[in-house]
């Protein structure tokens, strides 16, 4: 990563530029330039259809965004999403990874099943889950909850109920994403040296004790990584919201990305929308830097 490797590099400049040019042009035109433009746009007053001349307004758009109750709502929804989904999903993924990793028959089959939702496009799942969350006692989620609660559950209109809409999207996202995390944790589990367990067994450590004193400490880096990765994904939340609730009811499910798109494309407030995407980027940046730091600190643990 830091150019530590000593390679007998080949001196062929023309070939090198020929090899690297297509990718470099793409990266500059389609990532670097748009990113700089996003930052530049965010300090202007650009509002499509507005008669005002284009001006530099400093950090006004950021101030306005943070002062906007709707954006505050979006931020807090993303944080709620992180606070609930990340721990539940990580714990569930760890649990499943441990089960699948134990020597049982059909573990390959279970691994395939648990991973399967990950390959489904999110927009497809969002549409199908609208039907699953259908209101009334016929709705599949409602009848399932009535069945397991022995009839105590009162049918809800999940996606139109301000109290239940966000949890409904969370549940669906956990269902979709757990397999992804499980696979990463499974790879972490399989890289724990077997001697550690043998040594623990010699010390007469039981299953629980082995889990607490060998598995968890050895998995520390993997788990931190998974938590931060899922946190980033939680901040990118858009597809489900756009399709299932359109931010509603009453902004109960709006998110930072949904606000960015709505601000630009429904209200034509381009500069404000750009400011929101820059705020989103800063959040992702902070998490990524944390992630890279833990990976560097844990060094060998992460292959």
């Amino acid at each position: 990563m830091n150019g530590l490797h000593k390679v007998a590099m080949i001196d062929d400049k023309n070939a090198a530029y020929f090899f690297v040019a297509p990718a470099l042009v793409g990266l500059i035109l389609f990532i670097a330039v748009p990113f700089v433009l996003a930052v530049l746009l965010s300090v202007t007053n650009l509002h499509l259809g507005s008669p005002l001349p284009l001006e530099f307004v400093g950090l006004d758009q950021y101030r306005a965004a943070f002062a906007d109750p709707e954006f505050q709502h979006a931020l807090s929804n993303n944080f709620l999403f992180v606070v609930f989904v990340v721990p539940v999903q990580t714990a569930l993924a760890l649990f499943l990874a441990l089960l699948v990793n134990s020597k049982i028959r059909g573990s390959v089959l279970y691994r395939i099943i648990f991973f399967m939702p990950v390959v489904f496009p999110m927009s497809l799942l969002a549409v199908v889950w609208i039907l699953i969350y259908a209101p009334g006692p016929q709705g599949i989620m409602n009848s399932f909850l009535q069945f397991v609660s022995l009839g105590l559950w009162q049918p809800r209109d999940f996606l139109h109920d301000p109290q239940f809409a966000l949890p409904a999207i969370m549940l669906m996202s956990i269902w979709q994403g757990t397999g992804f995390q499980m696979v990463i944790i499974l790879a972490g589990l399989q890289s724990i040296p077997g001697q550690l367990y043998e040594a623990a067994a010699l010390d007469r450590a039981g299953n629980w004790s082995q889990f607490w004193h060998v598995t968890l400490p050895q998995l520390r880096a993997t788990l931190i990584f998974v938590v931060l990765l899922t946190t980033i994904l939680a901040f990118r939340l858009f597809d489900q919201v756009q399709i299932m609730t359109h931010g509603g009811p009453n902004n109960a499910t709006t998110t930072v990305m949904f606000e960015a798109v709505r601000t630009v494309f429904e209200r034509q407030q381009v500069a404000r929308g750009a400011a929101i995407t820059v705020i989103f980027f800063v959040i992702v940046l902070v998490i990524t830097l944390l992630q890279r730091r833990t990976m560097r600190n844990s060094g060998g643990a992460m292959r």
Binding site: A23, F35, V127, P137, V183, Q242, T277
Partner: protein
């Protein structure tokens, strides 16, 4: 005593979780073969999974109501080109970064590591206005070209290429092989897992990509499946059987590929995450 119980309990828990995970998918597949009116009416009963009558009506309805084949071809074209083009362009760049000496190598490598952080969502707004002002909306190129060069793919290739023993290339050079030949005859065969990982990850992301085509396509002629299914859901009359049939047809190719190459899918997702 307790040890004897662990195994059966493990099996029960696994089976239960598997059922919970599979049931929405099963519901989708079974529902797509049920008469339209019964999909919603029987959703909360056992008949959602064990229907009394089976029909292909929903499937023919989908083809009658929208140009499904067109959406499928669009998705195949866009995803296929991004995957194929991405493999070539990013592997070439990574090879230059890992093995060749040239001015600016360190800078470009650093830039790739920085660009890796920027999520697509952060640049979508200016990219949209850039594309619009070039008259690029409602085209295939606007859905393909910006996504071919990918810092993450470059990084994956780069780390993999570093691990290939240089002696292999040196021997070929002594034999007088040019760089392009070395790349094709030595690097590609020795980096198959990296190519598979990049292909699978790009495919997964691109096949499900929703935000960008939602912004840049209004024309059905260039619309890919993820946007098409969302639009189909809002197309009156609301017929759940048709929607589920659409969903089943949309996911079958990817599910088929996944079931055949599941080992590779799971391995590439795990390794990419650990390295990324």
């Amino acid at each position: 005593m307790i040890h004897k119980l662990i195994r059966p309990v493990t099996y029960c828990v696994l089976l239960l979780v598997a059922l919970l995970i599979v049931s929405p998918i099963l519901f989708m597949v079974v529902g797509s073969f049920k008469p339209d009116a019964l999909v919603f009416a029987e959703a909360g009963t056992w008949k959602a999974f064990f229907p009394e009558t089976w029909t292909f009506q929903n499937y023919s309805d989908v083809f009658a109501r929208v140009d499904f084949a067109r959406f499928m071809l669009n998705s195949l074209l866009i995803t296929g080109t991004v995957v194929g083009g991405g493999l070539v362009v990013n592997a070439f760049a990574a090879y230059a970064l890992a093995r060749l000496r040239w001015r600016g190598r360190e800078t470009v490598l650093g830039a790739v590591m920085v660009l890796l952080i920027i999520p697509f969502e952060a640049i979508a707004v200016p990219l949209f206005f850039g594309a619009s002002s070039l008259g690029w909306r409602d085209t295939f190129s606007v859905q393909i070209i910006p996504f071919i060069a990918n810092p993450f793919s470059i990084y994956l290739f780069y780390t993999y290429f570093l691990g290939i023993p240089e002696e292999l290339e040196e021997a070929a050079r002594v034999d007088g092989a040019g760089l392009l030949r070395i790349f094709i005859e030595i690097i590609i065969p020795n980096a198959r897992p990296a190519f598979a990982s990049v292909a699978i990850l790009t495919f997964l992301v691109q096949w499900g990509f929703f935000l960008w085509p939602l912004l840049v396509t209004t024309d059905e002629m260039v619309r890919p499946l993820p946007v098409a299914i969302a639009a189909f859901y809002t197309l009156p009359p609301l017929q759940w059987g048709d929607i589920l049939a659409f969903a089943v047809m949309m996911v079958s190719p990817i599910l088929l590929v996944f079931l055949i190459f599941q080992r590779w899918f799971i391995r590439s997702v795990a390794s990419s995450a650990i390295k990324g």
